[in-house]
């Protein structure tokens, strides 16, 4: 878990924010869109690129995904 949190900290502020406000707070993309005041499509897109970035950050730390 520590490794995963470390990997999330290396993400850009917007990628970390979108993961924090969705999956890590148990919110749907629609709920997160309301919280952040952004279009749902923007949230979905950021989640996608945040996961791609997180996969790289995890692989860098030896966590296979």
């Amino acid at each position: 878990m520590v490794v995963i949190a470390e990997a999330i900290r290396t993400l850009s502020a917007s990628h970390r924010e979108v993961l924090n406000e969705t999956v890590l707070s148990k919110r749907t993309v629609n709920e997160a869109a309301e919280v952040l005041g952004l279009p749902v499509e923007t949230i979905k897109s950021r989640v996608y690129y945040a996961l791609r970035a997180l996969r790289v950050a995890l692989e860098e730390r030896g966590v296979a995904t």
Binding site: M1, R9, T10, R16, L24, K44, R52, T65
Partner: protein, 224 residues
């Protein structure tokens, strides 16, 4: 929805963050999209890692490291999604085409635990007194019923079994596990327990699932 928007929906879908209608619409796209199937396979593993983890606070590291990560990210994008084995793709396809897919759907406003997505009908139960929370996925098979369980807020040490009860009152053990002293899904132990098992009882004859602790009795009953 544009084609690009549908592709990027795979991230939110893998994490179970789409509303039910959007999840169904995406499944329509996913069935014919190899690229999304590949992404889904890779993201599903990360969904498991993120399950139970709370928000992560803190600033990004100093610039040099952030720069290196950004560079790697750029390379990863240029390289495209990592190809997974055909076996995994076939397994994902079987899940998609055999029906009972609830992947990405929302349970009472909460995402379905990643480990249960694609494993059939979702049922849940909780105990207000102990805080124990259980979500189960049940799926009829030719040999009986596949059962997957996600359990949180369980304190240890305990040895537990998941028991299936048929409509005739017959009991079958689905699977068993040990709970370490720090428990599952408790403070300082963010992991939920996730187990899979099977029983010979047909789905239609399955009435409920019981979380039973050795020496401590039944902790929870999940009507299915």
């Amino acid at each position: 929805m544009t084609a690009d928007a549908e592709h990027t929906d795979v991230g939110a879908y893998a994490l179970g963050l789409l509303q039910p209608d959007d999840a169904r619409a995406f499944e329509g796209h996913l069935a014919g999209c190899r690229r999304c199937s590949d992404d889904l396979t890779g993201f599903a593993a990360m969904a498991d890692l993120l399950t139970g983890l709370g928000p992560v606070k803190g600033d990004p590291p100093p610039d040099p490291e952030a720069g290196a990560v950004a560079l790697l990210r750029h390379r990863a994008r240029a390289r495209g999604p990592v190809r997974r084995t055909r076996l995994l793709f076939a397994a994902a396809a079987v899940v998609l085409f055999t029906g009972g897919v609830l992947a990405g759907a929302i349970r009472g406003g909460e995402p379905i635990p990643a480990d249960l997505r694609g494993w059939g009908e979702i049922r849940s139960a909780s105990d207000a007194k102990s805080g124990l929370e259980a979500v189960a996925a049940v799926q009829g098979k030719g040999w009986g019923t596949h059962v997957a369980l996600d359990l949180g807020n369980l304190e240890g040490p305990l040895t537990c079994h998941l028991i299936a009860v048929s409509t005739k009152g017959e009991e079958s053990v689905v699977t068993g596990w040990a709970v370490p002293a720090q428990g599952y899904g408790a403070i300082d132990s963010p992991d939920h327990l996730q187990v899979h098992g099977g029983i010979a009882i047909p789905r239609g004859d399955l009435k409920r699932l019981i979380v039973r602790a050795d020496g401590a009795g039944d902790l929870l009953s999940i009507p299915v």
